[in-house]
């Protein structure tokens, strides 16, 4: 390996926008994730057992039974939650931890990148990967239901499709702030993955135990939060034994608090504190 006689040549090309640069990070992360055998495995497992079987089941159902109520049933399924949490844990685990471990974090921030851009890129990449399970399949099923319905209520069906898009989007995004926060607290992706899964599992356990005393305790369980959200979104309302205000606080708190802590953590790291 010798030094090539090629000299240093300047480059005078046109610079891309900040948005393009962020998209490169998101896309690269997404592609890397799709190369992971663990992610592929869980994705295939989840898609097969949940969505493929659902599609077959819906084919067998009479068309007039296929309505907006099917989607919250599908997305409120326990298997859907377990797979979502497992995939979110796997996908988020190394999103930031790997940058800390390899110290490549400093390379991102020595370039024209601010904390917000870095985080937005990471959210973009993890969102694209998790959307493969939490967003795209429910939307595809909703499209199939609308496309194959025989009744005249096309407007209502299109509304259900819109709600499914919102539900898929929120479900995908819901786990990311916590996942990225935990990933930013360690340099080991295995710790981050286990940490995220165990955090959500522990919250579910605590929620289930204390809900015997007060039904609002269920609101610290992420799956319950999402089920109540689907019910509310698809027009079934919030259960009577749940405080609607507390639900709003818990739901937004589960997103906003990790997001704020994550921002602070990355900002402090970026300025070397």
């Amino acid at each position: 390996m010798g030094i090539d006689p090629i000299g240093y040549k300047p480059w005078n090309g046109e610079r891309t926008s900040k948005l393009d640069r962020m998209f490169i990070i998101s896309k690269t992360f997404y592609i890397q994730k799709l190369k992971s055998w663990w992610v592929r495995g869980f994705l295939i497992l989840g898609l097969f057992f949940l969505f493929l079987i659902s599609i077959f089941a819906f084919i067998l159902l009479p068309h007039d039974m296929l309505d907006a109520g099917v989607i919250p049933l599908l997305m409120g399924n326990v298997f859907f939650f377990i797979m979502s949490i497992l995939l979110a844990s796997l996908i988020c685990s190394d999103s930031i931890a790997e940058d800390f471990r390899s110290n490549s974090f400093v390379l991102y921030f020595s370039r024209a990148m601010k904390t917000e851009s870095y985080l937005a890129s990471k959210f973009g990449g993890t969102f694209m990967a998790l959307a493969m399970f939490c967003f795209l399949p429910p939307v595809i099923i909703a499209i199939l239901i609308v496309g194959t319905q025989s009744g005249p209520a096309y407007g209502a069906s299109l509304g259900a499709l819109g709600y499914t898009i919102i539900a898929g989007f929120v479900t995908t995004f819901f786990f990311l702030p916590l996942g990225l926060l935990i990933s930013s607290m360690t340099t080991r992706k295995s710790y981050a993955a286990v940490g995220m899964f165990m955090s959500i599992f522990s919250l579910s356990l605590i929620g289930a135990i204390f809900s015997d005393f007060d039904s609002n305790w269920i609101l610290i369980d992420t799956s319950s939060l999402l089920i109540i959200f689907y019910d509310w979104l698809f027009g079934f309302g919030i259960p009577n034994n749940i405080d609607a205000g507390l639900f709003s606080v818990m739901f937004s708190g589960f997103i906003i608090i990790p997001l704020a802590l994550l921002y602070l953590r990355i900002h402090m790291k970026a300025v070397g504190k």
Binding site: I3, R21, N103
Partner: protein
């Protein structure tokens, strides 16, 4: 801003203080960094890397002002960082990438389109001497190869200002020589390069200007030739002749001057002494002692002499070296 009007000064730092809790890494640090290759010298823990991080805007100083080409690296971080290439001291490569993918990725997040980044990355990897190995995962690379990839990622987007933190770290002698040659070649294309190192030979080989820092303070700085010329009017004289005559000459010289060292080299005597005046008296003394004057010239100090001298003057230490 005055700095904007002066193209010779690329970085201006005025009264920078950076502390990590109780530890003050940079203490009221003021310096004007000129263009060209500038060496930033100091023992381990002197504050070199902290200074580089501060000028990159990677950490916010507690006090003071920094300007890069007239711009504030904190308020105008995006603009400033587009002009900068940074090669960190420690490992920073994503090991499950190949070198070509990694350098291209870094090019793209520095604002290059993929169609520009890929050929440019090949060019830069050719330049730093990474051949077919570029298609292997970085995790399989030696330390020297990783250093080369680190340099390639720092220059892929053709920055105007380059910060190299310990660029020869962990490299074998040939690798070090290659790296220094690469730095010289890069500087030929009108770049400002700040090289932080504690390997003094490296700086002596490539730099035009050096700054010495210790305990977070600037001890001395200046053009390398001036620094090496010394402050003490150190001169050396070399004489030839029979041994008693040479001994006489040394005695005469000692009577009139502050002689620092006398060495015998194959029938010649080399004497280092301080002379603030001209050389006429030396010629007279050599005639008097009947020796042949072979050389009389300023004694050039090594950077190590300058470095240790500067640290001693300032009560610092050179343990790191």
């Amino acid at each position: 801003m005055a700095e904007k009007d002066n193209p010779e000064v690329t970085i201006v730092s005025k009264g920078i203080t950076v502390s990590y809790g109780q530890i003050v890494a940079l203490d009221n640090f003021s310096v004007d960094v000129p263009s060209g290759i500038v060496g930033l010298l100091g023992p381990n823990g002197a504050g070199k890397s902290t200074f580089i991080k501060a000028i990159l805007g990677l950490l916010v100083p507690n006090r003071g002002v920094i300007r890069i080409a007239g711009h504030d690296p904190i308020a105008e971080s995006v603009l400033v960082r587009d002009m900068i290439g940074y090669m960190p001291e420690h490992d920073c490569l994503i090991e499950n990438f190949t070198a070509i993918d990694f350098v291209s990725y870094m090019g793209q997040i520095s604002g290059m389109k993929k169609r520009d980044a890929m050929p440019r990355s090949h060019e830069m990897l050719d330049f730093v001497g990474i051949g077919e190995e570029r298609y292997r995962l970085i995790s399989s690379y030696s330390t020297g190869m990783k250093q080369r990839v680190k340099l390639a990622q720092a220059i892929v987007h053709d920055p105007k200002i380059l910060f190299l933190d310990e660029p020869t770290n962990g490299m074998d002698p040939q690798g070090r020589e290659d790296m220094l040659n690469l730095i010289k070649k890069i500087s030929d294309s009108d770049k400002s390069i700040l090289v932080s190192t504690h390997i003094l030979d490296d700086i002596e080989k490539v730099s035009d200007h050096a700054m010495i820092i210790s305990n977070g303070k600037l001890i001395t700085q200046g053009n390398l030739d001036k620094l090496l010329a010394g402050k003490e009017n150190l001169k050396y004289v070399q004489v030839r002749g029979n041994e008693p005559a040479r001994l006489d000459f040394v005695k005469l010289l000692k009577d009139s001057y502050d002689v620092r060292s006398v060495t015998q080299e194959s029938g010649q005597t080399r004497i280092v002494f301080i002379n603030t005046g001209d050389g006429n008296s030396i010629f007279k003394l050599s005639q008097e002692a009947n020796v042949q004057l072979r050389a009389y010239s300023p004694e050039r100090a090594t950077l190590e002499d300058v470095f240790i001298g500067a640290l001693e003057e300032n009560g610092g230490n050179s343990n790191g070296n």
